[in-house]
Structures are given as structure tokens and as C-alpha cells.
Symmetry: C2
Subunit: 624 residues, 2 copies
Amino acid sequence: MKEQITDPSQVSDSRIKALYTMANRLRRHSLVSTSEAGSGHPSSCCSSAELVSAVFFNFLRFDMDDPKNPNNDRFLLSKGHAAPVLWAALAEGGAFPVERLLTLRRLDSDLEGHPTPRNPWVDAATGSLGQGLSIGLGMALASRLDQRGIRVYVLLGDGEIAEGAVWEAAALAGHVGADNLIALVDANRLGQSQATMYAHDLTNYADRFASCGWNSLVIDGHNVTEIIQALHTAIRTEGKPTAIIARTVKGKGISLLEDLDGWHGKPLKKGEELEKALSELPDLELSEPLTVAPTGRKAPAPPAATGRIDAPDYDAGKQIATREAYGIALRKLGAANPAVVALDGDVKNSTYSEKFLQAYPNRFFECFIAEQNMVGMAAGMSAVGKIPFSSTFACFLARAYDQIRMAGISQSNLKLCGSHAGVSIGEDGPSQMGLEDLAMMRAIAGSTVFYPSDAVSTERLVALAADTPGIVYIRTTRPKTPTLYSPDERFKVGGCKVLKSSDGDRVTIVGAGITLHEALKACEQLKKDGIPARVIDLYSIKPLDVATLSQAAQETGAIVTVEDHYPEGGLGEAVAAALAGRKCLFRRLTVNELPRSGGPEELMETFGIDAKAIAAAAREIAGG
Amino acid sequence: MKEQITDPSQVSDSRIKALYTMANRLRRHSLVSTSEAGSGHPSSCCSSAELVSAVFFNFLRFDMDDPKNPNNDRFLLSKGHAAPVLWAALAEGGAFPVERLLTLRRLDSDLEGHPTPRNPWVDAATGSLGQGLSIGLGMALASRLDQRGIRVYVLLGDGEIAEGAVWEAAALAGHVGADNLIALVDANRLGQSQATMYAHDLTNYADRFASCGWNSLVIDGHNVTEIIQALHTAIRTEGKPTAIIARTVKGKGISLLEDLDGWHGKPLKKGEELEKALSELPDLELSEPLTVAPTGRKAPAPPAATGRIDAPDYDAGKQIATREAYGIALRKLGAANPAVVALDGDVKNSTYSEKFLQAYPNRFFECFIAEQNMVGMAAGMSAVGKIPFSSTFACFLARAYDQIRMAGISQSNLKLCGSHAGVSIGEDGPSQMGLEDLAMMRAIAGSTVFYPSDAVSTERLVALAADTPGIVYIRTTRPKTPTLYSPDERFKVGGCKVLKSSDGDRVTIVGAGITLHEALKACEQLKKDGIPARVIDLYSIKPLDVATLSQAAQETGAIVTVEDHYPEGGLGEAVAAALAGRKCLFRRLTVNELPRSGGPEELMETFGIDAKAIAAAAREIAGG
């Protein structure tokens, strides 16, 4: 990789001058583009102009014509509302013509109000504050795993430092000594609606990063020489990440805006107001040309995946929990595809992701009890080519729902596994039961949701998840369930399995996971009652196999859905929506009220999702 | 309030000895009850036994026979998996007979696997780690507001310190100087699946709390004298909260468990294993009686609410955003009910909760950009009688979904407002758009979900939210919309409004919020086309007015739902599920793919939820 001059004693005065000029060019672009758009956050751009100028034009090693080159350094704008300054730096760096900056926030533009990967130079969507450091840490650790030697720069606002997710990332980064991660905090004192908690008392930030094991520095964020000195120190620091806390002024350079409340997310009016502001930004001719340094290294071929995954190996009827099969499948996947990595939130002995750890310790990332960072890191890893599987209890993924939502906007290639779904976990009680995870995961744009019922389908669906682009959620179950499928059974995105069926079926029971086994038991009971029932394993909750469900509704005229989940947004609503307007008798069995501690079987009985309840509902609507 | 002897130089040796004995009694109960239950976390109880003994029997002022007395000090077990030690302390303190401890985790018991308010001595459910400090801070600040002088003790595990939510609470507690909040960290070194990040390097924890403005102390958590000294210091410290970092040993006192991996969440086997452990806990006779000190103060009458809220005052057709009407309503509610408080995540000038701040600054809590803590604090405040309204952008409530989930388990009287719903926010782009919030909020047990369309209904629904027990979510819209209702129109939980209807209606359009206005426009267009359409304002998304919807389906035979939300778990699925199996033509218009920046109207057109799209769908199914 090309060596840059980063030692401030070696950087020429002319270059320093040019970097100041570039900062003002970035300001100018930010003002003009937001005024043209009629909305946006110019004052938040102005405070970070020197920081962005110095990083992009004196430190970053990035092939502008190959933004996905994994050898590129990475720059993440965690304070996503300052998007115009990022777009400006990219344009000045040659990514696209500066004229395009005038399309900011337009429907036909990829220069969105907050950065999204719709723009090829953006790795991950930001704009929900406090997520960038996790994403950056994921990239930094993925790079370290591949020994690429890239550096990751994350620009944060001081307001977002209040987000706990920042401190999850900071703690882990310090703990693992991620010295290729550099956080720059644009401490401009002002949040959206008032001053931040610490305003310009910056030692607090520095102390907190230091207490997390970081090298931390406080500088004047408008002094290019200080910025270069700090960044130079950062890239020479070994064994720990560096946080540069930069004292800045919101709206810096524009007298109308400087350090004033009431200018967050507000553009200048075109005409006199804008012109006056622009007149305060002199010296727009660069004293020497500035470019973003290329990496000098081509993108390597992606790691070879054999694609060969050992077939499941379970005898019919063998009792094994799908969570355990998940661990087994993950280990097999690790052998077949070196891009697969696993992340855990200190529950690896419950989710069984420890099986992956045992086989591939380098590709396993213990994130401790910090689910937001676990998901954010995984999103970052996926942005640099990894296929991350993050697993924890289904209910604890709720902790990271905003990170999952943002990963959806990034269209991250992220795999999530939630174990311990539903009341069937038993005695631990409601705080540990995932009862809203299907609603949560289905409502992510472009997501895929799998809910396997036995070990064979779990293994196949885990492998399928790795091959399915985007966010894939796998819901697993705590108790053991019998193996239903033969090892060569095939599963597909949007599929289902009709496990019991006859021409005379009078009712269809649709279940998945633990309730599928109850459905099969109910089917036996109903058979004895003379009511032939169809049973469908709805292992793909999103997308749905609408054709098979429609056919079942038409042929049997009665549907019972049953799920270990609350009534809203789960399996039953998905089926009801898919069949909306179609005449048939319909019963949804769900966990209709707040559950409690108890035995798994007695809870399933109490909340009406066991074989007895299914058979009763089926009898009622099938007229048995 | 009765003064206790807390100065360790004044505490007698006999009392110290009794507190040690009590710790072993708590251990004994924890071992026996978990062995009886066959599951649970005895080793996590053993590490905290002296801490719990000292807090309960030498510091806490709590009327055991009146657990809801707002003058009670509060004890929160943030490390909820140590529930057995809490149940043991409550039993030893006289809350209920010790024999009841043997019902731990049984379906018929209120001694659940993790604490829930099903047990009257518990204020808030814990067990999703890292939430207790926020809840405790909410209680501490509510008490400070009411000048009650209570103290709040929060017992945390060291594993959960990795959760960012802890640091959101810590930062705010330090910032506001919550000196009646005391955090005790049971640093037993071992997480569930491995050692914690810092193991017994406790200065890290102390430094981090100190950097957040806390008084912080490191002690031996098994030394009762040190514990008393630290707690005594804590209660005498003014102007800042205190964190006591207690070095402990997991499984302390039981040779089979002490400081060993592999014993998290695992009871001892009844019989020899348990008996041997119990034999290691000597001296179970107290050298002097120990009791929990009563407060000596009766519960005061709750603050008087006038109940009189000024009627809405908007002319028909007046353009005003529902988010602004929310702010106006909140301010009116503040006048009518002194129990109402408001919490913000630095967006008060966007959600308009600033109107409440301006009128009632003491009852307004700025939580900065830290939504988890904002919701956790609100749950804590509701547990001591406040009616908290937490507001932020709808999408950012996703950040606090796990806290909302736990508040659902607590059945907290918590009101949430999410503004900036859907693509209609426009240019800021997808990161700022709430498009999964209805799915998220509907899937909370016992929740109520309102989605007003104009200023009058917003005001009425905000008032109704305050009067409706439990979690109520109010979804507001960014753009201005015309006033539809007259000031005296009435709204109810589970209601809807049929705004257009005739005997010959051939289709029903169901909308809410911004799409209701599009539905009304579509109705006009359809009228011109000779297709009379019914229009329903579905302001109560949960519960639903199933009767009115069913009648519409029957009478018009065709339903179009339209919402500014993703397809899953929102208005359309709710209606589809309510009408499942009923024959009628059905179209759901939703935001079917990842949106982007653009103008509000062009986005609504692009994603097919505007009047034109509604009219086209209606025409198609009504055969026009």
C-alpha cells in the first residue's frame, strides 16, 4: 500500500493550506446543496469540514474507481445527517462530478438525505445515531482477520455519544485492541434541540474512551495541523484504538450559523442569505492539488467456498433441539465457506453457536452481553464480504431492532438466529421468551424469515440462509423435537411442506417450530374422531407459499394456524393476510396474553397452543 | 422517616454477624428453591448474598405490608436471573412465608424465574439485562420531583455492564446528579458462557462510572463491613450517584460452585449434591433479629387530577400536523393531571413535546439521544405513579424495543409517541422513517395503538391514552393535514369513524393518519367515476373495531386498506386478520419496498399509497 506523508512535521505548508481550502470547499458544497434541496443539515457539515478534509485528502487510502475494493480504508459517517459533507468529499475526491451535488435529496438521486448504500461509495446506511462505531469495528475486525491492514475512520457527532450502542462498541474495541479503528468525535456542542450533556467539557469524552482501553486525544477540530498530528498518532498507535475528540463549532465559518441554537436541520435560504454565507468562505482555489490516495492493490478474489456441506445425519424421530441443530449446521457451514463468521452475545452455550467457536475460533466474535454492537458489527462485516451469523435468544434481538432496521436499509447480508422462541422455553419466564420476534423480523424490508421444526430442516435452512442475499432470520426452539425429515429432503425460500394430506381433508392445520409437532399430534387425534386434517409445516414464514396455502383453504375450507408467538405480526397474521378475502373458516391460535413461568408443556396448554387446543379448534370449524 | 444506624463504626459486631448469617440463609434458600424447581441460577445468587443482606436488613426503608407505598425505598434486581435471592430476602423480610420459596418457577406461583410485578413486591420486570439502572433512575428522579427522599438501590451483574443501556442511564444520572441512586455491581467475574470482558479488573468499571460523574468505590462484596461502609458513604454523598463495584465470587460459599465456569443457570441436584452444599453453610441462627426498616410514613393520596382538559380548538380544514397537535395536547394534559411527565430524546422541537417543557419544565426530562434509557426511565416513573409520555421519531423507538417489551411484561403505565411515521416525512430518507413501528407496537402484550389523522382526534387520543392503563402508542405524522373533526367529536379505545358511507357503497377504504386523507381524496375521484366508496378512519389500530369492519366487508364486498408502513404487522394485516375467512375482495396498499429520499407527495405516489393508487385499487376490485 502506498505510503502517505502523515507526519505533520513533513507535511508542507502549502498542503496544510490546501486542506483548509478544501474544508471550505466542502462547506460551500454543503451550503449550496442543502439550500438547493430546501432541507438538510448544513451547520452539522460545517463543524466537521476540516476533519473530513484531513481524513479524505491526507490519510484515506481508497480507490475511488473501485469503492468495493476490500483493500480500501473505510470512512463511516456515523453522524449521518452530515451527509452533504460526505457527498462533497466524494465529489471532490473524484467519485462523481461535483454538479451532482445539486441533486441532493431528490427522488432520482443517490445522494440521499442520510447516507445509504444506494450510493456505491457508502458501505452502510447511517442516520440512526450511535451505530457507526459498531459497523466500523466490524469492518476493522474483518480486515484484521483477513490481514488486509486497512484502517477504519468513523466520524461521530457529540450528540450521539449519549447512545449506549457507542459504548458497547467502544468497550469491545478496547478489549480486543482494534488499533485499526479511529473514532473522530465532532464535538460541536449543540444537539438538535439544545446543547449536549457535556457541551464543550471534552475531558469527559476522553476519559470515557480511555476507560474503555482507548488512546484518546482532545484537539481543536478546526486546526488542520492538530488534526493531522492526532491522526498520525492514531495510525502509529499499536494495540489500542484511538479516539480523537475534536472541539468544533457548529456552523463554523458562517457568521449567521456559528455556535447558535435553532440551526439544526435547517438550510440557508437561496438568494441573499446563502450568498452572504458563501461570501464568508474565501480562498476556494487549492494551493496544490489534493486527491484521495489510491490503495495500489487490486481487490483480491473472494475466498473460495467449496459449497459442499455435509448432509444432515439424524435418524427419523431422533430428539434434538433445533437450536442444537443450528450450531451443528453453523459448524458445517464454516467448513464449506470461509466467508462465514459467527457473533455471540454471551449465550453461545444456549444457542449452540459454541460449536462454531470450537471449530473456527478466529472467525468467532464474542460480543459479550451487548446485542446492539453484535448486530452492528455484523452489518459492518457483511459490508466487507463476510457472511455473519449473529445469534442470541430471540427476545434479545429486540435490543438490536434499530440496528437490524438500519441493516435492512443497508440491505446487509446479515444472518440472525433467535433461539428460545416462545412460551415453550418454560420456567425462565416471559423476559426470556421471544414472542414478538416474528413480527419484528418480518417487518424488515427485504427480509427472509425461517422457522424450522426439526434438525434436518434447520440444517438445510441455515445453509440456505448463507446462500440467500440480505437479512435472513432463523427462529429456533429450546426443547428437543423429533426429527421429521429424511436427510435428503430439500427446502426453499418461500416453500412449505404438506406433511399430512388426503382428498377428504376437512381442515388444514398450519404450524411451524414447536407447534408443528403439536399439529401432528392433533392430526392423529382428529383422525380418530373421523376428521381428516391436512398439516402444513410453514418453515418459510417470509416469503410465504401462498399457492399451497390457497389450495389448502380451497380444498379443506377451514384453516387453523398455531404459533408460539403473540397474535400480532406472526405466522397466523401472515397467513390471514395472504388469504385475505378468501372464504374459509379460520382460527388463529396464538399466545393471547402475557405468559409466566411454568413447565413448557403446561404453558403450551395454558396458552392454548398445544395439540388439545388445536384439535378443539379444528373440530369446531370442521364441524366435527 | 426513621433513622437507621448505617455508620459502620456504630453498627454492632452482633449485627454484622447477623448480616453474615442472613447472607448464608439467602444462599440456602436460593440453593434449595432452585434445586426444588430443577432450574435457575443459584451460583449468581450466592455471589450477591452479602450485598442483598446488607441492603435489605441494614439500609432499606420499606413497608413490607405496603409494597406500593411511594415512600418506600426501592430495590431493583437488574440481574434478574438472581431472582431466588430476591425472593429469599423478601421472605426473610416478612413479605410472605419462607415456605413459599419452594414454589419457585411454578405455574401457580408469583415467584417467577425472573422477577415480574406479578409479585406485588416487584416494581418492574427484569431479566433482560442492563435495564435496571434506567428503571431505577426513573424512580429516583420521580421521587426527587415529589421530594420524597427515597433511595433507589439497583443491583447489577458485571456481565450486563456490557449493555449500552447501562451507560445511557449512568451518563444521565451523573449529569443530573441523582444522588438518591445507588448502583451495586456484583462483579463475580463469570458470565453465562465465559469470563466477562474485564473479569476482576474492577478499576475499569470504577473509572467508567467516575467518568460519568459518579462517586465510585471498589470493595470486597463478601465483606459486610466494607459493604456497610460503602453504602453509608453512598447515602451521605450529595450531588452525585454512587456506584459500588463489589468484587465477588460466583457460587461463593459452595465449594462445588465457587468461581467455576459451567455453573451458570444450573441448580444443584437434590439429594447428596444439595445436601453437601447446604452443609457448607453454617451458623444459620441469627445472633440478633433482622428486619427491614419500615418507612414510618403512610402512602400519600395520589396527586389530584382535575380531569378537565380544554377542548380542541381547530376550525374545520385547518392545516396542522398531528405531531404538533400532540404537543398541544400534552401541554393541556399537563395542566389537568399533575402525574403526567414527559421524556424526550433530543427531538422535542420535532415531536413538539417542547410545548410541555415550556409549561412544565420540572416535569420534563431531557434524556438526550438515548432512547433505551428514555423508555426505561419512563417505566420506572410509571412504577411509582407517574404517567410518563416518552416521545421521539417512530423509527427510533426501535432502539428501545427491548425496553418496551419488558415494560409490557411489567404492564407499565407507559405512553409512547412516535412521530415522523412513514415515507411521508420525505427528503430525510429511510433512516428517519417509521415503517415498522405499528408491527412493533402491536406485538406488545396488552398494548393499545392509536394512529390519529387530524388535530382533533390527536388531542382526544392523547387524553384517552393517559386514561387507558398500560402501554399506549400514539403514531403521529410529519406533514400538516387538514382538520376533519369538530371539537366535540368523541373517540374511544377500539373505535373507528365511518367518514363516508351510503347504502350503495361498492368498496370500503380503510386508512389512518396521512393515508386517511388520501382515502378521502380517492373517494371523491371514485364518486365521479360512479363508484360510491365507504371511508373508515381506523384511528384505533389495536384493539380494532371488528364489528364495523365486518359490516363494511359484508355491505360493500370489497376492502382496500392503505397505510404508510411496511406490509407486515401494520394496519392492513390487522384488518386482514380480523376479517380472516370472510369472503370479500381485498387489497392492501403498503410501502412494499425500501424507500428513499424524495418529496413527501412523490414518495407516496412512488410507493403506491396516494389517492391515485387507492382509487385504482378500488376501481379494480369494485369492478369500476
